[in-house]
Structures are given as structure tokens and as C-alpha cells.
Symmetry: C2
Subunit: 448 residues, 2 copies
């Protein structure tokens, strides 16, 4: 059996430990929700004061040049590109994940349409996972409407078999937001390309969390957010990448002035910039974007501590430990594991299921109340309600993919092994004492 | 002749004078570029520290509910709605001007397409001004491509005659960014509606600057930015409004989760929210959006000082004074007036032209160098290069619409009458001394 002392020993040996000091974490909180909103880099306080008081307040309009606001989307993209296997000049931070997805899906749809006659006249499907993050599906639904494509939603185990010549675009989230299950990006992309299918990857739950090699996997397009593992702040701008072989083939339709070849020539006709700049659109929120840099700077510093190899090793050790401790110490309470045990198929989070009918009214799973009781103790994870897909179509129940989820994210930059020990200890106490049954934990509020 | 003492007397009588104290303006600067980036509200420093250190740092993910991030786009929209003649629940702050324009233009194009059979089979034109802000034209170009419309660019005096039954959408910027000329929104909208044309208004240079009454004018859609007269900070989120009679007719295509009827149900199908919420898309940059509120709060406070009537009266007095002083004190240097003298046709800026051939090389107008020399003296306005339209099609030269422009914005919240006196004094000195001819003022850098 693993002990508290074992966990403390692991922290003492942790080469990444100094990076925890870069974050301002509240007293008394074990933060296991960095997969939803990352923690605040300490440097953010001084940086945001500088951008507001000096750059904006004193520099005023001049700061577009003198403070470098004008090309911050590109500079941040270049800074972060190596963490996702992208080259310099291939990534920009801008807008939101949903909007960037719209840009790349429409670009992909335009490429498919242009290539259709010679290549594959019947290529009309856009396939994705039924349990993909909903905004991805909503944007895909919109693009399918506009480009006369059919959105086909599948269970993860059905993806491989569906990669046929009738598919135009395969849009997947690399690490599933509900289960933490990770696709093999290189294998899926290769299978898709063998059928002439374009691959669009959502990296929201993998950028900065797991090794990503877009060029190595020969991916086509990718987007992702910066407010989760990248610690960019609430709603910080998202990123977008396109493979250089595709990037200049078409406009994306959000053809605003920042994507123009000469934005300050003020000419009436749109001429898209060459390269990833054409995925820029309007003026970006510079206060939020300046703060984002503080999160990326910690990744740059992490290169000195072993970079992604070290982060990944610690992430797997943290999630292995959490799974082991839950199974050792929380038996008999109807918990199950939704996250794959295989390292190659796991992101940086662990998701637990709970059997239906164990909730306070005998109807639901009680997972929501357990999460609330943990939050009240300072152990912050989150709850994701079952999707209802099981009852609708009988699919996915066995994998936990559509069940109620207790979700715990492990950011190796600031979560330690003793944190894991203590989190499981609280979970055990919440379950054994029955404190999760209190009415205040069973009242559903807005959930984010 | 007006004197410095006259200007000081006007400041002493100015009922809006206390609002100047709400802004952190640099020493030694006369800021006449608030029509490009507004000044920093003093309250922004404390607000941004609170949102970063308390709400993000301490509240973490919980702040989506506890700090009210989740509905800040709607709350700010409700707070600002009266300043543009919109009702509660009709405005949200979100994304960028370009992206919001894409949303409303596509919604308008979908409405036109749906109404086409019964109404007007030949309705294929989207008309706008050739000298509209370029990003508006680029977005319109994209929407025209997708919806098989023809983008027709006109001179302002051609608009009225072009409002015929072959036009689907009339997209205009209320106050022209180059000249400060203002359209009569109610008259243009009425003439358009008489022909069954939808009207989309860009309020970037009019929101908070001039009286706007969207409901009174019976407009169809409107968008605008918040980083100019609203003082929301660099790249702060834009706003979008749709008339209630149109808002629920169609999705806009950027159908992200924040526009969903039940965003946290995580259902796979998109069901748009009723009302303006369907114009939301992805997660917003909360640090930038929180700072924006400081700018809007000054407008709320301005209600106590006479509101828009008082702001407009002061704005016209400031721009009248600037025109008068330039004409009295800067004669003989080839300056002309691009901004209308008629109050009803003037925004809150004054734009000067300069004759071509008076520049240092005898080729250009010298306007760029004069603006640089003024900035070096702390008088911050900006330069907009001639569009080249004159040479291409022979149009617009007489109005100054396509000439090089020296542009000066007058934000009545923080610009005073003595500022105007001093700015013109500097302009006179720059011109009479010839200091604008120095090489450093004639080297073109990036211009924003």
C-alpha cells in the first residue's frame, strides 16, 4: 500500500517542483481543475498592471508599435509552436476555440469542394465523436449546413472503421474532455490520409498536457485553447495551426483586416496574407493576450527542467497514483474508472464514474453531490453530467463515456504527489461519512 | 478672434469637467486619438488587479459563477444599451467587430434568401461605401462570396439613389472613419426599408460619441467596438445588436456553445438561445472584458451630468472650435477640411486634408510627417493615407474622402477646450517652423 510518506518522497524527488512556485495557488485548495481553467501565474499580476497602466495608460495608441501589440498573436504562436510540434510562423493565438474551429473547418470544406471532381465525388461526410466537446459539434453542424456535408457522430471505437472514401473531414478532439481518453494522432491521421480525408484536431485538452507532434503526425489543421493547461487566464485567446501545404490554398471566411496581406494599406479589396496570418481576423484583446504570455513563459522555463518528457512522466505518475489510491482507499462506493489505464491512451486527467441509483434520491448517481462536497473541502475538481446518449441509443454505457463523471485534472506544473494523497483522503472521507448527502451539495446550480 | 482665455473660460463652465478626472492621461500629452484607442479609466488598474489576483487567482474556476463571468457579456450589453437606443436583452459584448459583422451579415443574407421567392427574386446586391473601414468590406466580400451576392461600393452621395429593389443589404458605417462624416441613420434606414432592404450599421465611430437611436431609426442590425470612445482598453470585446423582429429568425453560423439555449447541458445538437445570446459563440476574454466595464461605468456616471445630450453639445463645441482655430491660425499651409461643417453630418472627430505635392519630396502631401511632428510634441492624432481611389476611378477627390488625412478625435469625456487651443498652437508651430520636414518625421513606420 502506498503511504503519505511515499507521496512526500515523490515530491522531494520531483525535478519539476520549482515550477509550482511560479503559481499563486490559494491556501487550503488542492486544485484539480486546471483542465478547465488553469491556475494564475504569479507573474500575471505585474504584467497586467504594466499593460494597463504603462502600455495602455501612458503609451496609448503608440503601444500598438512600441509595446509590440501589433504582432503579439504571431510572437506567442512562435513561442508555443514547439510544444505542439509546429514550426515557427505556423501558429497564431487569436479569437476563441470555437471561432478558430470554424475557420479551419470551412477552409477544409473549401479544399474538399475544390478537390472533389478529380478525387472523390461522393465525399460528403464530416465525422466526429458523439462525446466530443459540444461546441465542436455545434460549429461542425453549422459548417455542414453551409457546405452540404453530413455530420456523422460515432463512438470512439467506430472511428477507425468509418475512415472510408465517403468521408471528407475527420474532426477529433485529441484528448476527450469527459474521459481523458487520448487518440493516437499519428495513426488516425495516417488512416484518414490513406482514404484522402482531411484531419482537424482539437488540442484543448492536450496542448501543454501531453506530447503533441502535429508535423510528425502529418496533421492538416489544429486548434486549441490557452486557458486550461497553458494557464493563460479566463477566456484567454485560443490558437490555430494549419499545415503549410494547405494554409495558402483558401481564405477562411472570417476575412478581417488582421488577416490581410497589408492591413494598414486600407485598400478596399481583401488579399489574404501568406501563411498563418490569414487566420487572424479582428483586433485582439491585448490585456488578456498579454497575460497569456505569463502562462506560456512557464512552459518556456520548463524546457530547462526536461520539457514535455518530464511533464508527461510526472503527469502519468500523478494519474497512476490517483487511480491506485482511489482503488485502494475508496472501495465499496460504486466508483468506476472512465479513463484508460494504458498510458498511450490517457491524457492528463482522471475521470471517475459512479453507478446510477446511488444518489440521494435513488435516481441519479450522486456524482454531482460528491464533487460539491469535495469543493467545500477545498478539493476542486468538476462534474460533467451524463450525456443521455445511453438512454437515447444504447451506446457507450460500458465505457463510461456517456455517464455522469467526476473529473480531476492533474497539471504537472503545479500539482504534487502529496496533493494526490490528500485529495483521495478527502474523497474517502466524503464517501464514508456520507457528508455528500447534505442538501446544500444536492442543489444544482449553474455548472461551468 | 478666439483667445486662450476664451478656451479656459469654456473649460471653467464645462459641466462634464469632473469626468476628465476619471481618466489616467499621461503628463504632457494632448490626446486626440480616442477615436482609435480610448484613454485608460483610472478604475481599470484596481479592477484588473482584482480580476487577476482575486477572481482568477483565488476564485479559480468557481469565479465563472461567483464573480459573474458567465453572463458578463449580457450584463455589459444591458448597461450600455440605452446609449445606442437599444432595449435590455438586445445587446451583448463579445468577440470582435469583424466577427460580429460576419454574424449579422450572414444572418441578414439568410433572411434575404429565405424571403426571396415571394419578395424580390432579383435582390442580389450588398451595397456599401468605398471608403468604409476596410475590414467591413473584407467581411462583406466573404459573405457575398458565400451567399452569391454582389458587393457594390459607392461614394456616399450615390447611396440614396442606389437604394432600389435589386439591393438585399445596405451596410454602412454611421460615422466615416476617415472624414467623420455622419449618415442620417433614420432617413437612410427608412429609404432602404421602403425598398425592402435590410440595414446593417457599424457604430465603431459613433457608439458613445454621437446620439444613436437604433430602435428609433428602426435599424435591423448593428455592431461596434468598445476600445474607441467607450474606453474599454486595447482590443476590448465588441458589441452586437439585432432588432427583436429579426433576431430569432436564423442562426448566425458561428454557433458556439455560449449561443446555445442550454450551454451546460452538453447536448450534441445545437439549439440556439432565444434572443441576442445566440450571437455569442465561445469563451470570452474575461480579463479584457472586466476592464471594459470600467469604461462603460463612466458612461453610466455621465448620465448624472446630462448624458448624451451634454456629451454631444460639448463634442460639437470642441470640433467647431478646432475647425475655427485651424482656419484662423494655420492659414497658408495647404490644409483643407474633410469633415462636414453641418452639425447633423459630423461625428466627434475633425479630419484635415493637405494638398498633394506639398510634402518634403514634392510628391506626397506631407500629412504623415506633420502628424509625426505633432506626436513628438505630445499632440497625438493620427494619419490615414489616401486610399488611391482617386487615381483608380476618378471619384471622391473633391470631398477629401480618398485623400491623405490628418485625423483628430475629440472625446468630450476627457478632452477640454484649452487642449484644443494648445493642439492648434502646436500645429501652427509645426507648420510655420517647418519642423515637420525633419527626416525622422518622414520615415514611414508601421501605422495603426
Amino acid at each position: 500500500m502506498t503511504t503519505l510518506q511515499d507521496c512526500q518522497a515523490l515530491d522531494a524527488q520531483d525535478a519539476l517542483r520549482p515550477l509550482r512556485e511560479r503559481f499563486a495557488l490559494p491556501e487550503g485548495v488542492i486544485y484539480l481543475d486546471g483542465n478547465s481553467l488553469g491556475a494564475q501565474p504569479k507573474a500575471a499580476a505585474a504584467r497586467v498592471a504594466e499593460v494597463v497602466q504603462q502600455e495602455w495608460g501612458q503609451g496609448l495608441i503608440r503601444s500598438w508599435n512600441s509595446a509590440g501589440w501589433i504582432n503579439l498573436p504571431e510572437r506567442l504562436g512562435d513561442q508555443f509552436a514547439p510544444w505542439i510540434g509546429a514550426g515557427a510562423g505556423e501558429v497564431v493565438f487569436t479569437d476563441t476555440t470555437s471561432i478558430n474551429l470554424y475557420k479551419v473547418l470551412t477552409a477544409a470544406a473549401r479544399i474538399v469542394r475544390a478537390d472533389t471532381r478529380e478525387d472523390a465525388p461522393g465525399r460528403r461526410k464530416l465525422i466526429s465523436e458523439r462525446s466530443n466537446f459540444p461546441t465542436d459539434l455545434y460549429i461542425a453542424q453549422s459548417v455542414c449546413q453551409e457546405y452540404d456535408l453530413e455530420l456523422v457522430l460515432l463512438e470512439p471505437e467506430e472511428i477507425a472503421g468509418a475512415l472510408q472514401a465517403d468521408v471528407a473531414i475527420c474532426m477529433l478532439t485529441h484528448v476527450n474532455y469527459r474521459t481523458g481518453a487520448m487518440h493516437d494522432m499519428a495513426a488516425v491521421t495516417a488512416a484518414a490520409h490513406a482514404q484522402g480525408i482531411l484531419c482537424v484536431w482539437d488540442l484543448c485538452h492536450s496542448a501543454g498536457a501531453v506530447p503533441v507532434d502535429l508535423r510528425g503526425a502529418d496533421a492538416d489543421f489544429a486548434i486549441g485553447c490557452s486557458y486550461k493547461y497553458l494557464n493563460g487566464g479566463p477566456g484567454s485567446p485560443a490558437f490555430v495551426w494549419a499545415h503549410p501545404r494547405l494554409i495558402n490554398r483558401f481564405w477562411q471566411p472570417l476575412s478581417g483586416w488582421f488577416g490581410h496581406a497589408e492591413p494598414f494599406k486600407f485598400v478596399p479589396d481583401y488579399h489574404p496574407a501568406q501563411g498563418i496570418q490569414r487566420y487572424l481576423c479582428g483586433t485582439q484583446p491585448m490585456v488578456s493576450m498579454s497575460v497569456l504570455q505569463c502562462g506560456l513563459d512557464i512552459y518556456t522555463e520548463a524546457e530547462q527542467f526536461g520539457g514535455m518528457d518530464a511533464l508527461r512522466a510526472k503527469s502519468l505518475a500523478l494519474t497512476d497514483l490517483f487511480i491506485q489510491l482511489v482503488e485502494e482507499r475508496c472501495q465499496g462506493h460504486g466508483l468506476g474508472l472512465a479513463t484508460p489505464r494504458a498510458h498511450a491512451a490517457r491524457g492528463s486527467q482522471v475521470c471517475l464514474t459512479r453507478e446510477e441509483g446511488l444518489g440521494i434520491d435513488g435516481q441519479d448517481s450522486g456524482a454531482y453531490a460528491i464533487v460539491q462536497a469535495l469543493i467545500a473541502r477545498g478539493v476542486i475538481g468538476d462534474f460533467r453530467a451524463g450525456s443521455g446518449a445511453t438512454s437515447q441509443d444504447g451506446k457507450g454505457g460500458g465505457t463510461g463515456l456517456h455517464k455522469d463523471i467526476l473529473r480531476f485534472g492533474f497539471t504537472p506544473l503545479y500539482v504534487g504527489f502529496e496533493d494526490v494523497w490528500n485529495a483521495v483522503g478527502h474523497l474517502r472521507q466524503v464517501l464514508e461519512s456520507g457528508e455528500w448527502k447534505r442538501p446544500e451539495f444536492n442543489t444544482i446550480n449553474a455548472v461551468t
